[in-house]
Structures are given as C-alpha cells and as structure tokens.
C-alpha cells in the first residue's frame, strides 16, 4: 500500500527507461548515426540547387536558307543575348530534326528563302522554330525567349530597313513591368529549401519510426518487452520522443544551413515554426509507429512507408504547383500532411505569416496527429508477430 502511494511517478519513470534504451540503441548503431546526421545535409545542399526550372543558354541549330544581311542580323540577335547558344548549322531539313533527336540542340531556327525580300516588300515575314517539347515547360520558356528576341528585332526594324517606308510606324509598344512579390529576384532556392527541409525531416522521422517496432519484432526483443508491466501508451511515448528529438534537431541544423548557405529569409517567428514542426512530427511519427505495429518485417515496413512518402511528396505541391492539379486532386491534397507543412513553412519563412493565418492547416495537422497516435496505441498489441 505504501509503495503504491509513493510511486505515482512510476509511469514517467518507465518512459524514462525506455527513452534511455532507445537513445542508447540509436547512438550505438555506428552505421546509422552518420547516415542520420550527414546524409540529409548533403542532400539539402545538393538537391536545393538541383530543383530549378531555370532555362539558360538554350542550344540551337540554325538553318538559314536566306543567307541575307537581314537574316544575319536576326541570327545575331539570337546569339548575342545570352539566352541562346548556336551549336550547329545546316541547310538540309532533316539535319535539323537530327540535331533535336541527337540532343545537340533544343531548338532549330529555320529562316526561309526570300526572307529579306518579303520583309522589304511588305514588312511581314515568317521564321520557323522547331522546339524540342519533350519537356513542355522548358519548351514554353524557349518559345517565350525566342518571342522576346523577335519582338526586339521588330522594334528595331526601322533602323535595319531604312528604305522601307511605313515601317517607322511599326506597332505601338506596351511596356510590361513585372514584379514578383515576397521574392523579387525570383530566386528558386528560397522557395525550394524550406520544402526540401520538410521532406528530409519527414523521411528521417517516418523511416526511423516505421522500422523501429518491427525491428524488435524481427529480432525477438519485443517478446521481452511484452512480458514487462510497461503499458501500451508508455511504450509508444518512449518510442516517440527520441525520434521527435532527432527530427527537431535535424530541422534546426537544416534551418541554420538555409539561413547561412542559402540566405533564405525568416520573416516569421521561430517559436511558431517549432510548434508547427512538433505537431507535424507527431503525425509523421504516429504514422511510422502505426506502420511498424502493423507490419511483420522491416522490408515490409520500409516499403509501406516509402509508398506513402512518394505519394505524399508528389501530391504536396513541393515540386509541381497544386494549382495545376485538377480540382478533385486539389481536394485530395487536403488530407496530405506534407502538403500542409510545406505550405505552412513557406508561409512562415517567406511571408511572415502569423498563427491566425495558418490556423486552418494547423488544425488539420493537429487532428491528424491525434488520430495517428491513437491508432498507433490501439493497434499495438502485446503479442509477438
């Protein structure tokens, strides 16, 4: 009786023991530790730079059938702006296509015979652009570059064809000034780095937790835990906290790198960011532990975890904008925790959003965290696989 009263802190002490065991296990594993710590940061640095759609110096192939002073002027416009780089020239239709197929060029500029004659005659002429559209996005950018150059050429036509009357009135100009708010230099890394940070903590958290319980099943130590008086919620909590600590630690180093190496601004508050991150990690870790309790082998657990990660990442708006998805898919992404955290971290860091701006996605994350953890505790049974 006396003992019972004295030990109302016992549940916490039990968790303390599990925590100690987990931390020992994590730090004892010499193979894993460097991977956990080093890999994500190499990736952050490399991948944030890789994830860009910028199109620079498009290689193009020239087929100038006119070979006139005017066509030469036009070609010069293409080569001198820095948008295009000439990689070859030919006078046979097929060689242009061959250049595209052989990846020597992404665009073929075809200037027809009599280009100059027609231009001087009626002030109108056509050139053809064969654009490699394997990647529709890049193709669109290439077309836009080419159009810009041609528009500039047209503006200067009165100078190039002075004998041509009427050209002086060539087309009025609408001067378009563009500006991108929040990120005026349109630097892609500012947008990508926070998103990739989310992916890194997600992968680390999800996989470590998903492989954890199932590993104990595989090597048989789960039976030893099962015969102790540890309660289910204590077990899950003890498993959860170390991974939470690791993930948040990882996030911290990631934020440092974002700040120092990528100069990503932090317009919002770190406190808010960490609160959101903690709630988000509870969703992820809850999911991992749930997977772990439901599977029988590490291979299986890893595979299930990978399956969900891929789907979640692809549907998160990280790499491709959510707005370009059809509406039904946009609605589906509401269930995706990665989508919400990516959205929130971008808003906090780049736009300085306050808590009232992100209440809706935060509520969804909190609900998901609650659901996942409850499920993980309920699904964990004290029976061996």
């Amino acid at each position: 009786m006396k003992n019972d009263r004295k030990d109302y802190l016992l549940p916490l002490r039990v968790i303390g023991h599990i925590l100690r065991k987990e931390f020992l296990q994590i730090f004892r594993n010499r193979g894993m530790l460097p991977l956990i710590i080093v890999m994500p940061f190499i990736q952050l640095v490399i991948l944030s730079n890789a994830a860009t759609f910028d199109v620079a110096e498009v290689p193009f192939h020239l087929q100038d059938f006119d070979r006139s002073a005017l066509s030469e002027q036009l070609v010069k416009r293409f080569t001198s702006t820095g948008y295009f780089r000439m990689t070859g020239e030919s006078f046979r239709q097929q060689s242009g296509i061959d250049a595209l197929v052989g990846r020597k060029a992404d665009m073929v500029l075809v200037i027809p015979r009599d280009f100059e004659k027609e231009m001087s005659g009626n002030g109108y002429g056509r050139v053809q652009l064969l654009i490699n559209a394997e990647d529709g996005f890049t193709a669109g950018v290439v077309r836009a570059y080419a159009n810009d150059i041609v528009a500039g050429f047209n503006r200067d036509l009165p100078l190039l064809l002075p004998h041509m009357t009427g050209l002086s009135a060539v087309m009025p100009v609408i001067d378009i000034r563009s500006s991108g708010w929040y990120n005026p230099e349109l630097r892609y890394s500012e947008y990508m780095v926070p998103g990739i940070l989310v992916v890194l903590v997600t992968i680390i958290g999800l996989f470590l937790s998903a492989m954890n319980v199932v590993r104990e099943k595989e090597i048989g130590t789960i039976d030893q835990i099962n015969v102790t008086p540890i309660k289910r919620w204590q077990f899950i909590t003890g498993k959860l906290l170390p991974f939470l600590a690791i993930s948040l630690g990882e996030l911290t180093i990631g934020l440092l790198i974002a700040r120092l190496a990528f100069h990503v601004p932090m317009l919002g508050s770190y406190g808010l960011l960490y609160i959101v991150a903690t709630i988000y990690m509870l969703v992820v870790l809850g999911m991992g532990l749930l997977i772990s309790t439901m599977t029988d082998t590490q291979q299986q657990a890893m595979f299930v975890a990978w399956f969900f990660t891929v789907i979640f990442i692809l549907m998160s708006g990280l790499f491709t904008p959510i707005e370009s998805m059809p509406h039904w898919a946009q609605n589906l992404t509401q269930m995706n925790p990665i989508r919400h955290f990516v959205d929130i971290i971008r808003r906090i860091m780049l736009k300085g959003s306050e808590i009232q701006d992100i209440l809706a996605p935060l509520a969804i994350l909190a609900a998901q965290a609650l659901l996942m953890l409850t499920l993980a505790v309920v699904r964990y049974r004290k029976v061996s696989a």
Binding site: N29, G31, L35, I46, A51, T52, F53, V55, L74, L100, V101, R103, Y124, G125, R126, V127, L130, I131, N132, A133, E134, G136, F137, T138, N147, V150, N154, G166, L167, V170, P172, V173, I176, S179, G180, W181, P184, L186, R187, E190, Y191, I203, F207, E218, T297, Q298, Q299, Q300, F303, V304, W306, V310, I311, M315, F319, P321, E323, S324, P326, L350
Partner: protein
C-alpha cells in the same frame, strides 16, 4: 542446376507470400502513373487574375477581354486601388494582378508606348515566371492583331512548332522518369534489403554452407526481382500508351532491351550496397538517400539537368537513371535508334560491370 531453380522458386514464394509487399510492388507503378497522368502537372492551367484598371478606356477593356478569353486566366474580380493588392495576395486566392496605368489608350496612341504592370506571387518563382510570360504573349498577340487589322506591317513572326509532344503534356515527360524510379526501387532497394536480411537473421551462413555456390545464391536472389521489374516496365509502358496515349515512336524491342540493361545496373547496385553493409536499416538508408532521392531530383525526371549549376550537372553523370532517361525519352518520344543512343548505353553497361566486379570482390573478401 535443379537446386538453383529450387532456390529461385523459394525466393519467389518469399516475395509473393508477403501479400502487402507484393500488392505495393505491382500497385505502386500503376497508382503513380495514374497520379502523374491525371493529377500532377507542371503546366499552369488556371491563373487567377485580378485587374486593377486605372484607365478604364477602350484599349484596357479590350486587353482585359483578351486576357480572360484565352482560357488560361480566370477573373477573380476587379480591384479598385493599389492597397487591395497586398490583401489579395495574402489571402492566397490570387496568382496575378495586372495594373494598367492611367490614360493608357491615350498614351499608346500619342507616344506609341504605354505601361502596364504584372504583379505575381514571387514566393513560387516558377509559377510567377510562367504567369508573367503568358500575360506577355497575350499582350503581344493583341498588338499584332491590331496592327494586322489596320494594315500596318507587322514585322517578323516566329512560328513555333512543338516537336515530339505537340500538346505539351507533362505525362510524356514523367513516364520515363517514373520507370527509372520504379526500377531503382524494385531492383536496387529490394535486392539490397533482401540480401542484408539474410545476413542479419543469420540465414546467409546457412545458404553459404549449402551446396549452392555463392554466385548462385546472389543470382538466385536477384532473378525474381529482375522478373518483377520487367513486368513493371511492361505495365508502365502499356498503361502509358493505352490510357495516356504516350507513344513509343522508336523500336519497342530496343526499349525493352535497354530497360533490361538498366535493371541489371540497378540490381548490381543493390548487390553492391548489400556487400558493403550487414544491416537492413543501413542498406535502406543508403538506397533511399543515395539512390532514390537523386533519381528523382538529379536525373532530369522533373527538373531538367541543363538547368542545374555546373557542379551538379557533373554529379548527375554518375547517376544511372540520368542515362536511362535520355535513352527512354529518345526511343519513346523521338524515335531515336541505337545509332544515337550508343553512348548512353555504353555508360550503363560500364556502370553495371563496375558494380558487379566491386561486389564480387567484396563478397569473396568476406568469404575468406
């Protein structure tokens, strides 16, 4: 030989008996392809645009109509003052604001030049840039039409022809990348885990003292995954063709042969990983961090290699998927033959040989 076949059968049963893994193994490629085909795009189809018209004249009216009739832009209502712009962006309900300066038509008539401003949400630079580009081309078109109808000379017109993918569908771009990713997953990741699993549980020792040669054990482990991967290639290619109309313009035989080669590369990578480590967790982390993420991001799957900074372009050369992607896109979209793709093929062959020799070395070291 009979023993070997028996071993391969055992491995097969191992994989197929695990229903969950088997379901994911076959279901994942299909689901991902459907996602990529139906949901994930990198083109922007709906630009929510607000107009701040400080001029309210004929030209701005015409331009506004022109913008919204193109199908890409969706009106979110007119704005009345510059102050409303900030609020509109903060709410996240808008992608773009177009501002016409006061006296727009007059200036255009008188000075031959007028100003408009295109403001976008730059926190996504990609969308921002495309949206600005779209708007610019609508305006250019408007001016061209105006000039043409008044009989003015319009200068040079560049007529673009989108080769290989005229409808600019992003599924054309994603299918090859998806194949590479799935093959990496099934071949490299699954193989490395399945071999390290035998090591971890100690059953590898049992296999080694059996009458099977070490080579036979490894080959036996690998064959089922090779077949699975190949089935996945067939699934993806036929689904892409029948559901999304992604063509195979080159030789199908060549495509399958090259896929087989890539599977071999991935398998030898998987074997190599399992020869370096004894723990499933480490094998998994190496495969995930070292293979899958780079396969998604550095191979040109989503982000073009040519857009990357030079050091990364150099690194992308050691990623097998980068070469496989060039091959698959070449064959499927451009109808390229081996005459164009021999270099990429050689690279893959070389990589496979390299990893195989390295792992044979590692394994024999351990056996002694």
């Amino acid at each position: 030989m009979k023993r070997f076949i028996g071993f391969v059968r055992k491995e097969f049963f191992h994989i197929m008996r695990d229903r969950r893994t088997a379901a994911i193994l076959f279901g994942m490629p299909i689901l991902q392809l459907l996602l990529f085909g139906f949901a994930i795009r990198n083109e922007i189809s709906e630009v929510r645009t607000g107009i701040l018209d400080l001029s309210h004249d004929v030209v701005t009216k015409e331009l506004t109509d022109k913008i919204f009739s193109s199908g890409t832009f969706v009106a979110t209502g007119a704005l009345n003052s510059g102050k409303e712009i900030g609020k509109a962006f903060a709410s996240g309900k808008i992608n773009e604001v177009v501002v016409f300066e006061p006296g727009f038509a007059g200036k255009l008539q008188r000075d031959g030049s007028a100003q408009m401003q295109v403001i976008t949400d730059g926190s996504d630079p990609n969308v921002s840039r495309i949206v600005t580009g779209y708007t610019g081309s609508v305006v250019r078109e408007y001016l061209l039409e105006k000039a043409a109808s008044s009989g003015q000379p319009t200068g040079v017109e560049a007529v673009p022809l989108m080769m290989f993918n005229p409808a600019l569908k992003s599924v054309y771009l994603f299918v090859p990348g998806l194949m590479a990713m799935i093959l990496m997953l099934v071949s490299a990741l699954m193989t490395s885990i399945s071999i390290t699993r035998e090591k971890e549980t100690g059953t590898m020792e049992l296999l080694l003292v059996s009458s099977l040669k070490p080579v036979q054990i490894i080959v036996g482990k690998v064959v089922p995954y090779l077949l699975l991967s190949f089935v996945n290639v067939l699934t993806v290619v036929s689904l892409a063709f029948f559901v999304f109309g992604v063509p195979c313009r080159g030789s199908l035989t060549l495509l399958l042969a090259e896929s087989l080669l890539f599977i071999m590369t991935a398998l030898s990578l998987g074997i190599f990983i399992s020869s370096v480590t004894n723990s499933q967790q480490v094998a998994m982390m190496i495969s995930l961090a070292g293979l899958l993420m780079p396969t998604v991001l550095l191979s040109g799957f989503i982000f073009p290699v040519a857009s990357m900074p030079l050091p990364l372009q150099a690194i992308s050369n050691i990623i097998p998927a980068r070469w496989y992607l060039v091959i698959v896109r070449g064959i499927m979209l451009k109808g390229a033959g081996i005459a164009v793709l021999w270099k990429e093929t050689l690279v893959l062959i070389f990589m496979s040989l390299l990893f195989m020799t390295a792992s044979v070395r590692k394994f024999s070291e351990r056996l002694q």
